[in-house]
Symmetry: D2
């Protein structure tokens, strides 16, 4: 069949009205797998990761790989955040704090991935590790004290967040601590967000601080190796992702959303955030497939619900249902339709009954205690 690409050809015509210059590499077709979480009214749901490393600090990949991984795995934006202070490869690699972002950004332009310049200010607790993103010049963050570094980022208009708020090498079950220095940062408008998830770990205390102090919740990979070494992406796992509810897909819109706390945390099979964002994500994900039918002679009512997102929503009954059998737990699998049935408990019951089904979605978290 010959394709009549019709209107779609329009674009292909356009892009070829250009003067193109020489090139030698051989092209290769590459594949992107979308992250299926719906947009919400008024905003795009951008998939972002604002914490990652390259060979320019203690990471193990060349910076362009970070943009390539982001494209392949369905992200819209990333920040490169190499350490300012910790440069274990400096015997081999010339120190230049801007370089990794520059290299990644050049590749990001080709792929339509937004690459944000960032740096990790890596100091002892307090205040611990901090990421400053949307920087113009990273080298000014190489200072004697952490206050000088943060202040330099602040004067570049950076969005600054606290990383993995527990001390490194922390004991099992240790809890991160809020220090006077963090309060000081907030007073100076030096602190805008906290990582509620870093790598594979969720910090309920960070979640609580974000709610109490109106800070932006973040979920980042902090990846050092090639990402498929840590996350089995080909097998369906995803990295931790910060969902950003942005007015459009640009660096400016992402910054505006981050400064307005319009984010949610997408971690394993959970989404963590404010009810005002989680409710429309859920509502835009599911659809009840049955037409409203009134069954008179039927023993059993079948309900079919489709879920167009990739999240497996885990529903649990939360309350008493007296007159019918319905499943206590239902999982609405991502990309699937599920079916369950509702049946009468008391066989002698006759007549009509109006019921509210009090299901709770266990993997959408508004507070650490749900």
């Amino acid at each position: 069949m010959k394709v009549v690409l019709t209107r779609k050809h329009y674009f292909i015509y356009l892009i070829l009205f250009v003067i193109i210059s020489p090139l030698t590499a051989i092209s290769q077709t590459r594949v992107r797998t979308p992250v299926k979480i719906p947009d919400i009214p008024g905003f795009l749901t951008l998939k972002c990761d604002f914490h990652m490393h390259t060979v320019f600090s203690d990471g193990n990949v060349w910076p362009s790989i970070r943009a390539e991984e982001a494209w392949r795995h369905g992200l819209n934006a990333i920040a490169i955040t190499d350490h300012i202070e910790y440069l274990p490869h400096k015997g081999d690699i010339l120190t230049n704090h801007n370089r990794s972002s520059e290299i990644a950004k050049a590749h990001g332009v080709d792929l339509n991935i937004t690459v944000i310049k960032g740096s990790e200010i890596t100091r002892d607790m307090p205040p611990g590790h901090l990421n400053a993103i949307f920087l113009k010049e990273s080298s000014t963050l190489e200072t004697e004290t952490w206050r000088q570094a943060v202040n330099a980022a602040y004067h570049q208009g950076a969005f600054i967040f606290w990383n993995h708020p527990r001390p490194l090498g922390h004991q099992k079950d240790s809890i991160g601590r809020w220090y006077a220095e963090h309060s000081e940062m907030m007073e100076n408008k030096w602190l805008h967000g906290i990582e509620v998830v870093n790598q594979r770990q969720y910090y309920p205390e960070a979640h609580r601080w974000c709610l109490e102090k109106n800070l932006t919740m973040l979920s980042n990979s902090d990846i050092h190796d090639p990402i498929q070494m840590n996350f089995n992406i080909a097998g369906g796992e995803h990295r931790p992702i910060t969902l950003v509810f942005a007015k459009n897909n640009t660096e400016e819109a992402i910054k505006e959303a981050l400064l307005s706390q319009r984010t949610a945390v997408y971690w394993e099979n959970k989404v963590i955030g404010k009810e005002e964002y989680l409710t429309p994500i859920f509502n835009n994900s599911i659809k009840i497939e049955n037409k409203p039918i009134v069954l008179k002679e039927k023993n059993r009512i079948y309900v079919q619900i489709s879920n167009h997102s990739e999240i497996n929503y885990e529903l649990e009954l939360n309350g008493e249902i007296n007159d019918v059998h319905i499943p206590e737990k239902v999982t609405l699998y991502g990309g699937k339709t599920i079916l369950f049935d509702i049946r009468k408990k008391d066989m002698k019951l006759r007549g009509e009954k109006r019921l509210r089904l009090p299901y709770e979605v266990k993997n959408l978290l508004i507070t650490p205690d749900r």
Copy 2:
């Protein structure tokens, strides 16, 4: 998070205004995987299989399983077509030609699967095996001659089609033959379609006959065992499916579409049918993701194309492209976005050039020779 099921609760309220009677079985949540092929303008694209067997002839499953499999694997409608003449289990099962459709239909109602009553008239070639579907009473097809059986189906308003048009146990590379009996059937309006695909086999001669004689193309599983024994559905394989372009999802609309030749064959990774149906399926599946951009200093242009269907569209260049390097073959993977680049061939070339990219979709077949 408490779910505010809002408008969606409306339906759940409604269905409970009913008088329900006793029931003992235990409910179980079941999962349906959609077949992702888009609708086309004016019609739903229904996924159907019109040829299958149960223990009531030579199949190996109870009839309700056929409706359950159809629901789980994303179909909208099936026909049960047990043999009239071949009943190897009759020593154990009482002969009743209507029974398997009845049992399957009862289960189909619960699942919202349309189950059509059919029978396979199983005679030697010519005319070979024929399926009659949309029957009212199958027992009248138990006759002495095939002409009597077909006539009985015809008088019930059946849609009749020729199954796997090669003799059983046929030689490798043998080709089905059109007999005078088939011409006779057409003259009597006894023949409305042919299986272009049966089980795993495609019959180009059947494809050609459908085009020449204006017959409906069908693609059916002819399944005897549990379907996951023959098709690795959990691993992503699908059974042969007849795509029916119907005005709505009802038995009547399916019959009207079949009698109007509004079908296509979905077999392995191919869709076979008329251009008027294949073009909108392709156009509704893909989206070119790039905004129209004019690049002046760029070496290379990147094109991103998304495919929202489950078909992997296999594009091949069909014609000369003189001035740029573009991939000769591109696969638009189902559910993915692909990226490829376009580059200048002649490095000295300057100025503007307008190009048409003559890609052909190799796995959308309009004729046996493409």
Copy 3:
């Protein structure tokens, strides 16, 4: 390359010294996936399922499918156990309590699957549902009282076990109850085993009774539908399996092992049984890959352990380790090699230290409380 099948040809020659009679069906290549659990010293580890249904009682497949499923999914033996008392298809299928085993056995012979004749005596609790297997004639179990039925099975030399020892439609968290009738059965040597696992459910009370009363532990699917409808076998899930430690792969050896309590329960990712069987399974599954090395200048010691079984062994530290960091939890993934490291805790420590690593395998259960 031409295959020199050498010694292997020997067999192929042999089997063709036969007189073969006519046949019409078309051959198909079929694939068996082994269940990888090693044999133990002195015994084969046979993979068995002793509880399943067909269309001849309330199942939904023809009996030959049960042998075919068993072969494909790596089993060695099955018992067909259709209900004596519950025959919902009897309006369509002639009642014959022996027929389903006969049909399945004929297919099993071709596949080298042992098919054991059984029946389910389906009475109210007490004593509940009982399976009798190794029957010669099932029809004698159709009696007025359960005692008559069990006695009839006993006189045929049957192995008799109690199925899913909780009442059907049982309340969540209800516990099965041991009745006087069960003690009576034991006194009469009418009761030889209990299902510790049925379908997806584990019964700790049944496990405890087996240990206390020296009864054989069983793990059975009780499957009614095609098995891939209930267990995602293509995706790596397995049905519940009774591991039988038998002297050889024959019906007689299986019976002898069952009567001698030489079984274990293989359910999800757990194996439940006596230490004398679980220890050699574990030891024959794993191999420590490192050669014994003494490291003097090394910071860290790496340990590599391979697991040749399909079970993911879940190790947890059970005890104090004072001087080194070792992982608290290690999973030895089935078919993989894992690597972890051991490091000093106290950096000032010098000299030699001898340690015992008290790992416990959490998914090998000897008692309900481990």
Copy 4:
């Protein structure tokens, strides 16, 4: 269950008689998937890849990643072969031709992966790109002419092979050419092998030259990116692998085997090499499961064959079989048992018949034309 690690504990005791020094990183359990190809009589079958790049030339990963990938994906040995002449990252990374091997080797020691020091001599055709491995000092290869570079490698006792023997950016269907320079190299004992497979491409001309000129066949990934970006290893794909038949798993034994042409090429689902190595690989992979049985009254004979390797052996009949139906094509799937049947063709035939089944294994290649 408490594990009685018995003899296995021996090793764990031993390794702890050591003086260990400080360390800060957090341990992580890592998983290795074996490459399942059996050893052959007298030799281990080592899985090797002798061509790969890092950030120290034009690759995109830190060198330690190459050892880590090799361990995870079941390899035994790799060579790091960064370019001598092509250093696109030299503005950021200090030039040191030995450095990437050194870094990778340090990580390889921990994992028990042999890391061989190599360099790619990257000159125009002729003679094209050459890899020299088992080097002591790579910097001496930075010379004016290719002859000086090769001679420097030769004097270090290197094993030298010709990479991807077609010019870069070669036309479709172009064929590599043997130049006088290659003959000159052979006369000087400067050339020991050729890549028969590089990345995803097989070169039949290279295969032929290896056979004619007694050169070692190699199959290498030439990987630049993280390997899971180019090969879907989590999905079951493998990189190109050189199988080395070595007396033991040491660098010396690998070198001895390479210099003795004891290798085979493992590429996609094919193994390419000499019959003396392919035959024992096949024979050690498969097992005919049936006991020799003589069937007298049976219609059909069933054959079961297991394949313990990961290669799917593709058998095709090569010759006439007059009297029985047997499948023309049989695939012995890796890790599975397959079953097919043999049936009489002529229904009147009686008596005994002796047959040889002339199957050919299509994916074991001895010559480019099989």
